[in-house]
Amino acid sequence: MSSATASSPRVTLLQSVALVWRTLRSMRTALLLLLLLALGSVAGSLVPQVGTSDARIAAMFRDHPLRARIYNQLGLFDVFGSWWFTLITALLLVSLVACLVPRTRALVRNLRTRPQPARELESMRHYTVRHVALAPDRAMARARRVLRRRLYRVAGSNGSAPQSLAADKGLAREAGSLLFHWSFFLILVGVIWGKGTGFSGQATIVEGQTWTEAHANYAGQIHEGRFFDEAHTGIRVHVDSFTATYRIPSGIPEDFVTRADLYDPDGRYVKTVDIRVNHPAAIDGVKLYQFGYGWAPVIDVREDGRLVASGPVVCQQGTPPPGVSPLQLPWDCAVKLPSLRPQVGIQFRLWPDSRALYALLSAGKAMPMLTEYAPVMTYTAYRGDLRLDRPQSISSIDTAAMRRWTSGVIGAGQSVQLGRGLTMSFPDLRQYTVLEVKRDRGLWIELVAAILILVGLLPALYTSRRKVWVTAEPDGSGTVLKVGGFALQRRPQFEQEFARLVDEIARSSDGRADEGSREKVHTT
């Protein structure tokens, strides 16, 4: 670059781009970025994250509002989705390209060209002179054979004197390393393609019901990728039963099974599956995972004998206070009757095992509910305005515009009169299962990438690059062989390998060690 143009802004820009590029190419930058990535992840594991610790984040906003706001600004509540974490990852990937392109080019060049001759064998790290009884070309042929057998690439001049050859080995190291590093981009492709074109959501299905895979049926619990084509599959899942088994009395979970019949979009039966933790079911490129479960009492409400509400009601649990197991907690659900004037809402609290309620009432003792046993519900009914124009929770009632009306207890199989002609019955208690429904077409790409990462890593870490040169000069009836070489990695191992190599090359053709061999070994 001439000094006349050096000050022009375009060149300065070019220069700074070149500087950034050079910085990104350096190993030091890669190292720093890796350590920054680790540091960011540490923050992500120590600060509560959205999605997994929402309650703790809310508590922090309540108790330390200033700190929480600063954390929020810095993206610390969502580290792995924050701009700076993405930036570090992106810089690492750019730096990776900057490293890999020249390395890959060099490797290709290296693979194309044959090992280069060298002068000055004497100054190599390993250098040996041997005298052998063979003629120079025979000795050379022998050296070539020995090296080839040891998987060296060999190139050499024939005829000219002194005869020489160059050999090298271990390009697998660089090739493996490059394969390893490039494979991270394959993972990236898999993630973007898979998440982008896929979806994942949660389906809540009560025993005996059939659920159809369609956007509306996720009740909002669905995340669709950016390139998702809105074409849900329409497959159907009929849940026969859900079973949760616990060890008694410890309450350690043993098994969760959803037995379901799967139907294709045309309503044809495909198969019956048992979906359990660790055993998802697959149909039409969609996978169904056991995700959660709960209780769904069947509740019928009649007004003067006419049904106004009927069917299973999904109950949910609040978060248990510290030291309390979710199994000890009752379940909350609600029935909303907007067609009545005034509107009526009934809030339930379900005890699937009524012994737990009595233990609590009589002895103040919490007891885990591991199976269904004479289930009971306490209820409180409200009258007024349900305010259904506002966002609703399915398991609770917005009582701001309602008045408490009546309350009581109802057991399975019973009915009670609420008054004003309303009768409520509780014929049956069922369970519901929550299935995670997912489609990710990138999985196989990521699996291939992961395998390539491992395949590349092994030669990258455990092989080494070695170079050897041999020259032969006639000397009386025999030949003087000079062998030089070095290894770029694993040098101590090469020390021995080199010695063995030289021995093998120098051994005379009839297999006996050459009597007259003269030796000069030096190690720098």
């Binding site: 190292l31 680790a38 594991s45 792995f80 660790n278 491992l454 101590p492």
Partner: protein
């Protein structure tokens, strides 16, 4: 035999192993200080005997529980310390023929086992559903094997840092060269080459083997561990995909194993970066070791996440 009897055999064998390791550790330290080959031989044999008892303990534990013996933290710790001792005996004593480092490896095993019996013990029992998959068998074994090699590599790294300090102090360079003779300059003992596999030669000079030998063992052990750890993370992702429907969710256990992986990747890069070789790279390896301990203990015991089924309550 009944479950209780198998379980008792397992506990007894565990105690035998623990005491053998303690005895072996004392012997190794004695040999380190006073160089008595006889004492070393006895210490080494004791360590082998302990290893045998330890193996019996792990196998009978599996029989008692009716499953693979790596389903909770007590069992992880037991297997981890077993593998650390085995890796020490195979790599350091077998391949590198060093005799003075045994006390440190056994001390780590003893500490891990003592914590295991004291704080983490639970009786044998079946697995919770989330753990009941054949991927766990692969994933957990790989994670423990990787951890044990990282641990051994880190122990040697600590010794390297200590020895390196002594060597630098002993070989105070002429003032004019100042700090110019760093490890990146490849000091003579790097070149000598004759100290491998007979690293034993380097043991005759000074209390510990030469810094170069220690550095090489540490590097090779960590480089051995890295692909195993990588595989463990991949297997864990496959398992998570099967169990929870997502292969990666930044759950604390996943996050910390990722952090550990990134730090050791940083270590491998540091070794190829001028100015970071030797000393600084070793410090990165130690940070990786701390991260490994957090991944192993803190995440299981204190940080809440899907992986919090260590079986300790």
């Amino acid at each position: 035999m009944s479950v209780e009897q198998w379980s008792r055999v397992s506990t007894d064998a565990f105690n035998v192993a623990l005491f053998a390791y303690i005895a072996g550790m004392l012997g190794y330290f004695y040999h380190l200080a006073f160089r008595r080959p006889v004492v070393w031989r006895i210490a080494s044999l004791t360590a082998y005997a302990g290893l045998l008892a330890h193996l019996v303990s792990v196998v009978t534990r599996g029989i008692a529980a009716g499953r693979v013996p790596w389903g909770n933290m007590y069992e992880y710790s037991s297997l981890l310390s077993l593998l650390v001792v085995a890796a020490y005996l195979i790599i350091v004593e077998g391949v590198y023929r060093l005799r003075t480092l045994g006390g440190f490896a056994l001390a780590f095993a003893v500490l891990t086992m003592a914590i295991a019996v004291e704080f983490l013990y639970v009786g044998p029992g079946p697995l919770v559903p989330a753990l009941n998959s054949y991927w766990i068998k692969i994933h957990v074994v790989a994670a423990i094997a990787g951890s044990s090699l990282f641990a051994l590599g880190s122990i040697v790294t600590i010794l390297y840092l200590v020895k390196d300090r002594f060597e630098r102090r002993a070989a105070t360079p002429p003032p004019i060269m100042g700090g110019a003779v760093g490890l990146e300059e490849a000091p003579p003992h790097f070149e000598a080459g004759s100290d491998e596999p007979v690293g034993a030669a380097s043991e005759r000079r000074g209390l510990l083997p030469s810094a170069a030998v220690l550095d090489r063992i540490a590097y090779r052990t960590i480089a051995f561990a890295f692909p195993i750890w990588t595989f463990a993370i991949i297997a864990g992702a496959i398992w998570a995909e099967n169990a929870w429907g997502r292969y990666w969710g930044w759950d604390p256990k996943e996050t910390w194993s990722f952090i550990t992986w990134v730090i050791f990747a940083g270590y491998l890069h540091a070794r190829a970066t001028s100015g970071w070789k030797g000393h600084r790279a070793a410090v990165i390896a130690l940070v990786g070791f701390v991260s490994l301990l957090i991944t192993y203990y803190a995440v299981n015991l204190w940080i809440v996440g899907l992986h919090s089924y260590a079986g300790v309550s």
